[in-house]
Symmetry: C2
Subunit: 416 residues, 2 copies
């Protein structure tokens, strides 16, 4: 019998109270146990995944999506390894961020505590079920998952295993719950479950994220799209520029920190663009540029206004020529999505201006935008990359899955 | 001619770019100038306020609300003094929260930056116009204000003065804008202006806040209601308890950090309640309690289930008897609003449990809940008290009006 969202919420609240006092050791043991059980019960997970795959193929799901849906022994091993790595991360809970004595003798401290109940809405990638649980759990949170309909059997099986691990460790197994009713109506109701859910994190494509932002009354952390630019400044090291652009564009296609647009100083375009075009030809990257860029290199096809705002997630790069740093910054601030932006420069003053004036979660000097990532930043894990400014901006690790609380020590103080 | 919200948004975005690079000195000079101009142009503000007051009285506005709407020379002086105090606060912008070198040589820093464009939705308290501007501006933000219809002439006049100060200092006067169309439709549109507004902060009563949370697609910081409890533990200093409860209940009525409910250990009720009732009688506080509390003191009238969840904002206190710390924590976590909670105790272990297990923005040992306030916490100002867990929790000062950005220094790094 399926639980109502209200029942799920009540169970989550009860588990939240228990989570508040778990020790780091208890949490790590549960994560290690979960990793073991995923391996031990892999046949059960693969069997459930097989049912999802059969349905998906029967419904004519495109091969790329079937691949995302598919679990293998290797992928289950990666899920387990991910949980072990999270067990190895430092526990963010309990850290005292500041503490001071006020003139009246009150001692006021600010302490890191769990966010509470985190809702994750995602598409048909069953590995998210274990990954999201791991990070949320380590930060002391209860997690309510609502995955895609196509992965329901896989998600059920993985959730059962994770619940089993919690129960085996004597912890409340309601610390992870899956919404098994994958109807549209239930998803809408979930997005308005303010009484029980402290924050919603949508993980998936732009459409999913827009829907959650649009419909949710629960606070949302938006993990967004990346229309990332690289600006090649006057006097830049052009060999460095070519290698950074090549890396940022082609090292992995289809990720939010890939470079989608080149902004080039008009005095460098003639030297840079033919060389860059030759390098990018190795990966058959299509170049779409403005008129001045096309004068510099015959391989470039015309760009339209639409190109400047586009996150291609493909072997395509737009090219905009500018007269200097002012125009470069203005162009980037107009068209970017607040994700990652880079300048290639040798100039001290312009490097500072770029870092200060470009409005994005991550701004780089002389490096590839592909580094915007929780692992590359040294967080040891990542629940997503926030492109909003509230609560968390940029890669979100364990700390971004916490809140704070003020603890105040008095000895009878009253307000005069 | 009135601007559309889109026009207001475009102007805000343009001003935002300029705000990003203002020095602390420029910001402080503008705040000092604004303070001077408020005094200098007080007649113009009082005249506009007079028109609002005439309309309000003509519409039969209750005297308490007329009082909130009314400006006097003294109140304008307070607004000016508030801006001067904000000029004296430390500038939060530019602080580097962390910086470290990664194994690949990238140096990654996290720097404090403005939130961007902040929307404030408030009721008919014209002083909020200057106060909210001051804090948002000092933290480098552009502010778009939407005040109550009843205060429109006052708000217009104050905004004109503040704009005049910015212009006089050579700063973009679109850093403060007032939405002069006070229709319901425009407010609704404002709450969905995600393209231009980074965060909305509603300031006002529970109804206003609920509406904004419910309707807004822009991220909201919820400043909420306070159903604050004080728990008197077994063995507590009862004289201290009486004075703290008297202070927290009666020092100021109608504020969110006032005590609304007493939770008392069953072994202390007989000694505490008659003494407390006598003290509270000085202010004619009505006591509503459960059966065991009524046995201890005849002045207590019966409480109903509804009382436990009630923020009275009045001379009323509910009283719940419990068998110990477990029941006290469970009761508080069930009925509180996540604002401020206090324990009066002499016991080390129970003080720790209360601090750890009670889920609220501020938890106290042996002090009045009335201290939950930006000034009392030493922030020098306050835009409100957040009762949500995302982004900010508890009193919000200048730091809570900022975001962060990652700045990354490389020398040619690409991702392998």
């Amino acid at each position: 019998m399926e639980l109502t969202l209200k029942q799920i919420g009540e169970k989550a609240k009860a588990a939240e109270a228990a989570m508040r006092t778990l020790s780091t050791g208890e949490k790590n043991q549960a994560l290690e146990t979960a990793a073991e059980l995923l391996i031990k019960r892999k046949d059960e997970i693969l069997e459930a995944n097989g049912r999802d795959l059969d349905n998906a193929r029967g419904n004519g799901m495109p091969p790329a999506l079937v691949d995302r849906l598919q679990l293998t022994e290797g992928r289950i091993g990666q899920m387990a390894e991910g949980l072990r790595q999270i067990a190895g991360l430092e526990d963010p809970i309990g850290e005292v961020l500041s503490m001071k004595r006020r003139p009246n003798g009150l001692v006021i401290g600010q302490k890191r505590v769990p966010l509470g109940v985190i809702g994750i809405i995602y598409e048909s990638r069953p590995n998210v079920t274990a990954d999201a649980f791991g990070l949320c759990f380590k930060a002391g949170n209860v997690v309510i998952l609502r995955g895609g309909k196509d992965a329901i059997h896989s998600n059920r099986a993985i959730t059962e295993v994770l619940k089993g691990a919690l129960a085996e460790c004597g912890l409340p197994d309601d610390a992870i719950q899956l919404i098994t009713d994958t109807s549209h109506e239930t998803a809408e109701e979930f997005m308005r479950l303010n009484q029980y859910v402290d924050v919603l994190i949508p993980r998936g494509g732009a459409g999913l994220i827009r829907t959650v932002v649009e419909r949710s009354t629960v606070p949302v952390i938006e993990t967004g799209t990346g229309n990332c630019h690289i600006y090649v400044d006057e006097g830049a090291d052009l060999d460095m520029a070519v290698e950074i652009i090549f890396n940022a564009k082609t090292q992995r296609i289809g990720v939010c920190n890939a470079c989608e647009s080149l902004v080039v100083h008009e005095k460098e375009k003639d030297a840079l663009l033919p060389k860059l075009a030759a390098r990018l030809k190795e990966k058959n990257v299509e170049l779409r540029g403005d008129a001045p860029s096309r004068e510099a290199c015959a391989d470039i096809v015309p760009a339209t206004e639409e190109d400047w705002g586009k996150e291609y997630l493909d072997y395509v790069l737009s090219i905009k020529t500018v007269s200097g740093i002012d125009e470069a910054i203005a162009h980037i601030n107009r068209y970017n999505t607040g994700h990652s932006e880079a300048i290639i420069t040798r100039d001290y003053d312009r490097s500072r201006r770029f870092l200060d004036e470009v409005d994005a979660a991550a701004v780089y000097v002389n490096a590839s935008t592909r580094f915007t990532d929780g692992f590359e930043f040294g967080f040891g894990g990542e629940i997503g990359i926030s492109t909003q400014k509230l609560h968390a901006r940029g890669p979100m690790g364990l700390k971004e899955l916490t809140s704070t609380k003020y603890v105040i020590y008095g000895n009878g103080q009253v307000r005069p």
